[in-house]
């Protein structure tokens, strides 16, 4: 059925809002990234990113951090998604509800929680030290890269869980059983039946994780301030008082969009290939 006029009008508020507050600002940002402070066209903002080792390190760190975080989230979320349907229905529902809770939780609250748990005098650190008689300077450092990835796992694992639980529930049990009855070994069942069915959802979940982590900075900022050099943190600092430089922030933002877009396109290509070779 074609959309009637009266119905198309219903899309107007959405269209106006997206145009005015999403697309127009992005356009302004893209244009400003090619201007200097006086409004003269220049490529300096981009050349500066290539010249300045701080920015290059930030990009590298962001890629590494997003990869680590996305992998932890993907593996953890796949495990929870695998386990949940194998529990009694009530526990199954309870676990999935619990794992949708972090999605609405403020990143700062989570930062606070992990400082209390794993800070220098953190409860968990004290417990482990007492339990094993470790010296005071041996502890898990929540302010290290490992710590930050762990804190983000609190968001990433649940995010992936929601995707993967749906995939595992849809996985046709009878297909798996048929393969077994035909004499397939467990690894063959995984290789030829389970993985091809799950792979598209897994890759889609992975892209969402990766894209989200590339832009994340709130929780990092609450944990370590600017001590960790990430692309999103650099952008944030260039929009706030101390190192205020909006054209530079704009150029860094455009680079960040480009990185996220290429990662999404890349993972999308892999997903299509997997789908094609899966034969399903």
């Amino acid at each position: 059925m074609r959309l009637r006029w009266s119905e198309a009008i219903l899309l107007l508020p959405l269209a106006l809002f997206v145009l005015l507050f999403e697309l127009y600002p992005i356009l302004v940002m893209a244009v400003r990234s090619f201007l200097d402070a006086r409004g003269v066209p220049t490529l300096d903002n981009y050349l500066e990113i290539l010249r300045n080792p701080v920015y290059l390190t930030a990009i590298r760190n962001s890629l590494l951090f997003a990869t680590a975080g996305a992998l932890v989230g993907a593996v953890g979320g796949t495990f929870v998604g695998y386990l949940a349907p194998r529990l009694p229905p009530r526990l199954h529902r309870f676990l999935l509800s619990l794992y949708s809770l972090p999605l609405t939780l403020s990143g700062l609250v989570v930062a606070f929680a992990f400082i209390v748990l794993l800070g220098r005098n953190g409860v968990l650190n004290l417990m482990v030290q007492r339990l094993f008689g470790l010296p005071r300077d041996v502890y898990f450092d929540v302010y290290s890269w490992y710590g930050i990835v762990l804190v983000y796992a609190f968001f990433q694992i649940p995010l992936m869980t929601l995707t993967m639980a749906a995939m595992f529930e849809n996985l046709d049990r009878s297909l798996v059983e048929a393969a077994r009855n035909l004499g397939a070994r467990p690894w063959q069942v995984w290789r030829h039946v389970i993985v091809p069915v799950l792979a598209p959802g897994f890759l889609a979940g992975l892209s969402i994780q990766f894209a989200g982590l590339l832009g994340a900075f709130g929780t990092v900022l609450a944990l370590v301030g600017g001590a960790k050099n990430l692309l999103a943190i650099q952008i944030y600092y260039h929009t706030s008082e101390s190192t205020y430089d909006l054209p530079q922030a704009a150029a860094l933002s455009v680079v960040l969009i480009a990185i996220i877009a290429s990662v999404l396109v890349l993972l999308n290509l892999v997903e299509r290939r997997v789908r094609a070779s899966g034969g399903g």
């Binding site: 059925m1 999403e22 794992y99 403020s106 700062l108 832009g215 952008i235």
Partner: protein
């Protein structure tokens, strides 16, 4: 209950602890007098009183509630009509619209939205940045994808034409059809989206910290400062944010059960 076996039991306990333990930290901290060792000591409501007595934090509570409510209302105004219209679309137009709604927020994370809003709205005649209005707009943007997904799902399960015709053939006028047929069927999904938007807005820090000036200090912005200054007040703010999340979450679960019951 069926026996689970040792592997599943241990896995389940660890997985539950992974979520429950961190969430309970701010709550326990906020009620304890003193917590320097493994176990917290004493019980007090002093930190909540301090949170409410301190002008900066009590004011930010009002700002946050106002911003979240406005973001929900704006989202209702925008996403409900859009959800209805999209549910009536077919084929490529629909695929395109939903793809844009899904992919755009992925490619444009909060840090980008914040920078772009700052750049576009910091100069006259459009100097909104630093105002509460700008924060409301930012939170509405962030809530969009969730609100549209929820309302669209509600409208999709509803065969509006058939139901409306049936109601009309029974002599129901437009108002009655809306009141008795469409609204009750769509309401749980829409409300659940509204709760989600509210919860996201109350906790949002990233974009807010970029576009909010001094007058638009929300609770998370105060929390950010207090994590450095006073862990006690920080614990009370954090705990409050946990309560809001929990309430919204319970509401959504209840609405979800309501929906399942009706459809099942």
């Amino acid at each position: 209950m069926r026996r689970l076996g040792p592997f599943r039991t241990i896995a389940l306990v660890l997985l539950v602890a992974f979520i429950v333990v961190p969430i309970s930290m701010p709550v326990i901290f906020s009620f304890s007098v003193y917590w320097q060792d493994i176990l917290p000591e004493g019980f007090t409501l002093r930190w909540y009183a301090k949170f409410l007595a301190k002008p900066a934090t009590s004011r930010s509570l009002g700002v946050s509630l106002m911003v979240a409510t406005s973001a929900v209302l704006l989202n209702l105004l925008i996403a409900v009509p859009a959800g209805y219209a999209i549910s009536r679309m077919k084929g490529r137009a629909r695929a395109l619209t939903t793809a844009v709604a899904r992919v755009l927020p992925l490619v444009l994370p909060p840090v980008i939205v914040g920078t772009a809003l700052l750049l576009a709205f910091s100069k006259p005649p459009l100097a909104f940045s630093g105002t509460i209005g700008m924060v409301i707009v930012a939170h509405t943007l962030l809530g969009f994808p969730f609100m549209i997904r929820n309302t669209l799902a509600s409208f999709d399960t509803l065969d509006i034409d058939t139901l409306s015709e049936a109601a009309a053939s029974l002599g129901a006028n437009l108002w009655q059809r809306l009141r008795w047929v469409i609204v009750p069927n769509v309401l749980p999904g829409v409300l659940s989206g509204a709760l989600l938007v509210f919860a996201i807005s109350i906790g949002e820090f990233e974009v807010t910290s970029m576009v909010a000036g001094f007058e638009a200090q929300t609770l998370p912005l105060q929390l950010f400062q207090q994590i450095r200054n006073d862990m006690r007040i920080a614990s009370a703010i954090s705990a409050f944010l946990v309560y809001v999340s929990l309430i919204c979450f319970l509401g959504m679960t209840w609405l979800g059960g309501h929906l399942r019951e009706r459809r099942g």
